[in-house]
């Protein structure tokens, strides 16, 4: 059951995301294309179906009403709506999707679903009424609609019953083939089993009809399925062939039989055209006969039949072939692939092979290397996902705030296909959202006149861009608003008492970084969107948590730009390999300022005998790694080894090591918990990494190393 719920949530959330993207895109164009309408229809139908199966009735109801609405739009075309209606439609859709999402969140948090959804349903109904009333003919008024449809439903059920009897179990349809399915006796919930069969068949894009038609929502149909069987109607023999294997896979199916529809067969035999025209007649009939049905509170057969008849063709290209995989499985795959790469190089460069002339072996070995390299690339790329999902969400935020704050802003997205590790994508969503909100709220001028007076485009622009630079992704959020006044920031910081030195000594860069201190908010008033004083400091913390950095630049009158530098993956970092004795260590490149050879004369001893070296007119302490870590090495003379000038946020010093081995991208692995018991993290060993030849190198934490060293001396 949990598994089903997980699947349901995953599926629904994916659909909601699709829907959101689609809505934003459509609103930009000001119109729903036929494809959009069909897609929304399909999404709502799926949500409705799966929600009904999971018994989330509120979700089902909302989805159902939206489905009805789009049924109408699809039948009448988007052109039938005038401008104001279109606007209302977009707002209504955003409201409804929010309502749906709210409910889904409740399910995720295991909270009870809201029972009062009348408001949203009333909104949808009244809108449907509004758009349909000027057309006059289609339907009359919503109360009547519901009345009519309520009558319509039982009548329809009766009709089916009659038909079932009349045709000795075979329902009335133009489809030439039937598959009659009987479920195992006593298997229970036959209607849901039937529905699951339907869902499975839909996945292979089959066009079919089924009877009873309301299996999905009406549990009474279970009995008719037990008595008469469940019917699938298919249009061709090929479809029957396709459907049978799927049906065989379904659980609890006792028997199935393929029946040819005698009536249709006859018709086809007489002449081909009638069959075709009949089909088209049937299609036209559907909206006419059930013109009032769309607003019905129970899905009407028409609403269900039509999407299946026409949907497969439209849906085919939209269907994505994605599967969701547990992240830990991926991780073990990546680990094994890494191992294969190492083993491969161990085999091909085995000492046993030396001095042997093995042409064929070398050829195959080269091929193997190429393949394993490809394999590694693919394995690494599996965890990478484009940032577009996160970026698209900003569209929605800009849209909502634009309406609320009455500012005209367009969001330009650049480089949304940039790929970043999944865990990082997940954790940068909130920071980006916060910065975008800040730009909307504080950055963009409240008055259009101010912008025009400043000679700017009346429509403000926020640019959200992502670019790759080797090992980092740079995300910038830029606005062309009023910019930040450094004097004001400084004054406010002074008032809040967060300055640590005289105000006059602050540089512009330092002032802007004050924004990211806890308890700083430039907005005097707290608004709905920003200004609670917990802002940029949280953003900074979140960005730093994934190993990124954040910086702000701003110019008064021209706008501000926030830059996030995020590592591609948390697990991979750029490192400099160094050796001390027989041990190898990795220093993160970000910490290295320079490496230098030095002469004995340049080393100065301080009062307590510690070595100090002068770099660029400043003095820095020297830490000998072999001394600190007690490693035996032949290189103890300062002239033989090499100094690496390293730097962290507040410390700068030189590390004396034997040799530089070269720069490398390394996969960070934590040290085993067992050895962490010995407090080695405090001694500056942050993790370890596997080198290409299978050996292990220890990653140093430059900041902790310094602390450890200063305790020692």
């Amino acid at each position: 059951m949990d598994n089903m719920l997980e699947m349901y949530l995953y599926e629904t959330n994916t659909l909601m995301e699709q829907l959101d993207e689609l809505l934003i895109e459509a609103e930009k164009n000001g119109v729903f294309s036929t494809n959009d309408v069909n897609e929304i229809f399909r999404i709502m139908h799926t949500i409705k179906g799966s929600s009904a199966m999971m018994e989330f009735s509120t979700l089902m109801e909302i989805a159902h009403h939206i489905e009805d609405l789009f049924f109408y739009i699809r039948e009448n075309g988007m052109d039938s709506l005038d401008e104001s209606h279109k606007n209302d439609l977009f707002n209504l859709m955003f409201q409804s999707t929010d309502a749906l999402r709210g409910e889904v969140e409740k399910i995720e948090n295991d909270e009870p679903l809201s029972t009062n959804i009348d408001q949203i349903i009333a909104n949808i109904n009244s809108f449907l009424e509004k758009i349909s009333s000027p057309k006059g003919g289609d339907s009359v008024d919503s109360t009547k609609e519901t009345d009519a449809s309520e009558e319509f439903k039982p009548a329809d059920a009766d009709a089916i019953a009659v038909i079932n009897q009349e045709l000795a179990g075979c329902p009335d349809s133009d489809m030439p083939y039937f598959i009659k399915i009987h479920f195992e006796q006593g298997s229970g919930m036959e209607n849901l089993r039937a529905f699951m069969t339907i869902t499975a068949l839909r996945e292979i894009d089959l066009s079919f009809e089924f009877y009873p038609e309301d299996v999905e929502t009406n549990s009474d149909t279970a009995e008719s399925i037990i008595d008469n069987g469940f019917f699938l109607a298919l249009s061709s023999h090929e479809d029957v062939d396709k459907a049978l294997p799927i049906i065989k896979e379904q659980n609890s199916i006792e028997t199935y039989e393929v029946i040819e529809n005698a009536a249709v067969k006859q018709a086809v035999a007489t002449s081909a055209p009638p069959a075709v025209s009949e089909a088209s007649v049937e299609k036209k009939e559907v909206p006419a006969a059930s013109g009032e049905a769309p607003a019905a509170s129970t899905p009407s057969p028409a609403a269900q039949k039509t999407p299946q008849a026409s949907a497969p063709h439209n849906n085919a290209p939209v269907k994505q072939s994605l599967i969701s995989v547990n992240l830990s499985k991926l991780d073990s795959l990546v680990a094994i692939v890494g191992e294969i790469v190492i083993t491969e190089s161990m085999v091909t460069s085995s000492p046993d092979l030396q001095n042997l002339k093995l042409d064929n072996f070398m050829k195959s070995a080269r091929q193997l290397r190429k393949l394993t390299d490809d394999l590694q690339d693919i394995a690494m790329s599996l965890r990478m996902v484009p940032v577009s999902g996160t970026f698209q969400k900003m569209n929605r935020i800009v849209r909502d705030m634009k309406k609320k704050l009455n500012k005209d802003v367009r969001l330009t997205i650049i480089g949304e296909n940039t790929e970043v590790d999944k865990t990082i994508v997940d954790s940068i969503g909130d920071p980006i959202m916060h910065i975008v909100r800040n730009s909307m709220d504080h950055g963009v001028e409240s008055n259009v006149e101010d912008r025009i007076a400043a000679g700017k485009d009346p429509q403000a622009e926020i640019i959200l861009s992502a670019t790759h630079t080797g090992s980092e992704v740079i995300i910038t959020i830029e606005d062309d608003g009023q910019g930040m006044d450094t004097d004001k920031i400084l004054a406010k910081a002074e008032r809040n008492g967060i300055l640590t030195k005289p105000a006059s000594e602050y540089s512009k860069k330092e002032i802007l970084s004050l924004l990211m201190l806890p308890g700083f908010s430039t907005n005097e008033e707290v608004t709905e969107f920003s200004g609670r004083g917990v802002g940029m400091d949280v953003v900074k913390k979140n960005v730093e948590a994934v190993g990124g950095t954040i910086s702000i630049t701003s110019e008064v009158g021209k706008g501000s730009c926030t830059t996030l530098k995020i590592p591609l993956t948390m697990a991979i970092t750029d490192g400099m390999e160094i050796s001390v004795g027989k041990s190898m260590f990795t220093i993160p490149i970000a910490n290295i300022r320079q490496s230098l050879k030095t002469k004995k004369e340049d080393i100065i001893l301080d009062a307590s005998g510690n070595e100090i070296v002068k770099c660029l007119d400043e003095f820095y302490p020297v830490i000998r790694l072999h001394q600190l870590y007690n490693i035996e090495t032949e290189i103890t003379n300062i002239e033989d080894g090499i100094l690496i000038w390293v730097e962290t946020a507040d410390k700068s010093y030189c590390l004396f090591v034997d040799e530089l081995l070269g720069e490398q991208q390394v996969v960070v692995k934590p040290l085993p918990a067992f050895v962490n018991n010995f407090n080695i993290q405090k001694l500056g060993m942050a993790g370890c990494t596997l080198l290409g030849d299978g050996s292990i190198s220890i990653i140093l934490d430059i900041s902790k190393l310094y602390t450890a060293a200063s305790l020692n001396y």
Partner: protein, 159 residues
């Protein structure tokens, strides 16, 4: 030290006649002349010839870490851990990789001997005057040798 030098530290009475009720499989290895057994439930595999990366500033019995199929595993030397003198590693020296409550750890032993079924009811506690660190019990076998049992939980305990 070879595997054949078996030093029976303690004489225990061999229980007679009882059919094994609850047997458990143990992997036995030798270490400084002692026969030590470890439940096969803990054993993942036995590896030889693995390059151990030394870690600075850890107790001497922690030999370092190895990478086993991408997994980083700490290695300790049982000889040093129970306070014996170190010896040079020979061709029979090997690493037994254990998984103790999903915490992998490798132990260096002089030699691996065999896997045997041992009736758990026959395992007796170590006499107080002969208490030794890391040993949770002992049993004597048919050929009059004594097997000590490694206390795996204690092995990974922190101080």
């Amino acid at each position: 030290m070879s595997a054949d030098t078996i030093n029976t530290l303690e004489e225990t009475q061999v229980m007679e006649g009882n059919a094994p009720v609850s047997t458990e499989r143990f992997l036995t290895f030798s270490c400084d002349g002692l026969n030590i057994g470890v439940s096969t439930n803990y054993v993942i595999e036995i590896i030889t010839d693995h390059a151990i990366t030394m870690l600075p500033l850890v107790p001497d019995y922690v030999k370092g870490i190895i990478s086993l199929r991408g997994q980083i595993i700490p290695i300790i030397d049982i000889r040093l851990r129970i306070g014996k003198t170190p010896i040079d590693y020979t061709s029979t020296t090997c690493v037994i990789v254990l998984d103790i409550n999903s915490l992998p750890i490798g132990i260096i032993v002089d030699a691996v001997q065999q896997v045997m079924d041992i009736d758990q009811t026959k395992i007796s506690p170590v006499p107080v005057e002969n208490q030794q660190e890391l040993i949770s019990g002992m049993v004597s076998t048919a050929n009059r040798s004594v097997i000590l049992f490694l206390d795996c939980e204690q092995l990974v305990q922190t101080y």
